[in-house]
Symmetry: C2
Subunit: 96 residues, 2 copies
DNA sequence: TCATCAATTCGACATGCATCGAAATGTCAA
DNA sequence: TTGACATTTCGATGCATGTCGAATTGATGA
C-alpha cells in the first residue's frame, strides 16, 4: 500500500528494538524525546535521575535499535525519535 | 470507538509485556501459539530446542504479562494467544 | 593556550534472568 | 494401586545488563 511505508523488520532488528523497549527508563527517555524536538542529553538528565554515563549508555542502545537519531551539534547532541522504526515494530507485532 | 476495545495499559503492565517480548524465544513461542489453536506444551517443544523446565518458565512469563492464556485440560495445558493484550501494547507504543 | 562544560568511554560491581537436571505434582489408563 | 506421561517447582549456574565514578574526548569562549 502506498503511504504505509513501514519497512519489514528482520528478527534481529525486532529483537534489538524489543530489548531497547524492555527497560522502563529507556521508554521514559523515548517519550520525552518524542514529546518535543530540540532535545539534548542535558534536557533528559533534568527529568531522569541517572548519571551521565548511564544516560549515554541508554542513548546508544536506543540508537543501535534505530529508535532515535543522534546528531551532534557542537558540544551538544540533538536527539530525535524515529517514529518510522516504532511504526515498523508495531507492524511486526501485528503480524504475530 | 466501538469495536476497538483495546484497554489502556498501565506502565507496569506495559513493562511486563515489553520484558516478555524482549526474549526472542518467547516471541517464537507466541508466534507458534498464534498460528494455530489447540497448542499444548509438547507441541511447542517439538519446535523449540529447550527443556521442559525452561519452556514452563517462559510460559509463565507470557501468562503473567497477559500475552497468553493457559487453561489446563487433564494432563495437557491449552495455550492461547491473547491478541487483545498484544493490541493494547501496540496502542501503548503508538502513544509514545 | 587554558579553563570549562557536554558527552563518551572505561572498569567494576550488583542484580536479573535464561537455562538446565532432578525432584515433585498431577492426570490418566490398565 | 501402579505405571507412564505432561507439566511444574526447586536449586544452581553462567551470562547479560543497568548502574556508577573516574578518566577521556571534543568543542567553545576567555
Amino acid at each position: 500500500m502506498a503511504g504505509t511505508k513501514a519497512r519489514a523488520l528482520t528478527k534481529e532488528q525486532a529483537q534489538l528494538i524489543a530489548r531497547a523497549l524492555a527497560d522502563p527508563r529507556r521508554v521514559e527517555i523515548l517519550k520525552q524525546i518524542g514529546s518535543c524536538d530540540c532535545v539534548a542529553c542535558g534536557n533528559v538528565r533534568e527529568c531522569q535521575p541517572i548519571s551521565a554515563a548511564t544516560l549515554s549508555h541508554h542513548l546508544k542502545e536506543l540508537e543501535t535499535a534505530g529508535l532515535i537519531e543522534i546528531t551532534r551539534e557542537g558540544k551538544f547532541a540533538r536527539l530525535a525519535l524515529r517514529r518510522d522504526t516504532l511504526e515498523a515494530y508495531r507492524s511486526y507485532l501485528a503480524d504475530i
